[in-house]
Symmetry: C2
Subunit: 246 residues, 2 copies
């Protein structure tokens, strides 16, 4: 039997919690994990506060295969993710020689001062590995099972594209969507029975409300194609039966 591979995410930033910036990275990571057969188990959004970041990273890295963080790795005083992740692992946060050289060369080639602020972006927990940044050079990093990436969506996505091919992937969770014209209240009873009779599937029911009318999206998920199809057939038969009656 294949291993189940799991993930969690820590979104770091006061600007998300204040509503000023609307997160666009959670949905992208969720889609990428689903495509890779990795179960995203939890997401936490925490402020730019070292104890909050340390707590979230340490709680989650102990219980999932991979933790992904976004935000807080830039050059300004509120970018404290590298220090916080180093503290979470109990290692020093220090200039990484390779990252320092990369940034020094990058700015020298452009005649831009490699000042103290920009040097901050070369700081990483001791022992971290780089995550390549094809957009703005300053690398993300990984340490243990934690992958630390930028919060700017285009940079986050580019970094994640570099990370995903290096991950163990799981057996892809198959899913099928069955639209139900009947509302949840009508199908809830028989749907619960179908879930009980098909324990190798997870059946989700998502109420949709449009133009004053409810309908329901039913989603069957399973790692077994046969189990998926059996539950789908049972749901379709249930819907036919109820629709004839109504």
């Amino acid at each position: 039997m294949s291993e189940i591979v799991t993930a969690a995410m820590v979104v770091i930033g006061d600007e998300i919690l204040s509503g000023r910036t609307k997160d666009r990275n959670i949905g992208h990571l969720a889609d990428m994990m689903s495509a890779a057969g990795i179960d995203l188990k939890e997401v936490r959004i925490v402020p730019d506060d070292q104890p909050a970041i340390v707590e979230a990273v340490n709680a989650l890295r102990a219980r999932v295969t991979y933790v992904f963080t976004t935000g807080g790795i830039g050059p300004t005083h509120d970018d404290i993710t590298a220090d916080a992740v180093a503290a979470a692992f109990g290692v020093p946060c220090e200039y990484d020689a390779a990252a320092y050289k990369l940034l020094e060369d990058h700015y020298a080639a452009r005649g831009i001062a490699f000042n103290e602020a920009r040097k901050r972006m070369a700081r990483m927990p001791r022992g971290a590995a780089h995550i390549g940044n094809p957009i703005s050079v300053a690398p993300g990093f990984s340490i243990g099972n934690v992958f630390v990436m930028a919060g700017v969506p285009s940079i986050f996505q580019a970094m994640l594209d570099n990370v995903v091919p290096t991950l163990k992937t799981g057996v892809k969770l198959l899913s099928v969507s069955i639209p139900s014209p009947l509302p949840e209240g009508t199908i809830g009873g028989p749907l619960g029975e179908i879930q009980e009779a098909h324990p190798d599937t997870v059946i989700g029911s998502y109420p949709k409300y449009m133009d004053g009318k409810f309908w329901t999206e039913l989603v069957v998920r399973s790692r077994s194609e046969a189990a998926l199809q059996a539950a789908k057939t049972a749901i379709e038969e249930m819907l036919d039966r109820l629709l004839q009656r109504s």
Copy 2:
């Protein structure tokens, strides 16, 4: 001195973690809390899994003034939020007589069967108070400092509109945004000094990347108008100084 009022959010649903549904409630709650002067301290997204919900609710309700949950209060087998919140508080989850009557009357007036699935929506932790639902009748509920609301955005928003006027509000956090044409790497050093010199403010720096060029949105937040203006002036003078030099 006014009390600081804090909040946290628990988003409940496999469909968010799988990427199938993109959350639209976090940003709305964040905006509403900012407008009310309430500090949103943390958001967690957890699956439809009772131990995960109990853990998140109990961890967060102990440390903030208010906890808001979305999702999992419908009529189907995967709607387990009422049971999970009851378990978090160590009370039974049972039919609420007033909610039962409300739903019974609602469905009777429409000639719709009040079946077992629909009756599920009248279940609440013992001692819970209703949160009115002007859209689809079935109420949310509150118990202790936890407010349990629907996941469908239109219903969540309507429920939250009923909740917010009942909350203690804090001193509104004032904020001012200062666009910087200079990138974070250039301003990071002096900006850090300004933050140190203005301890009654929180200065955020948000890199923006557009059309191959970086610029920076600087945001000063404070509960004091005077402190806000002093930090804003210092930042503007810093930007003028650097722009003259470049």
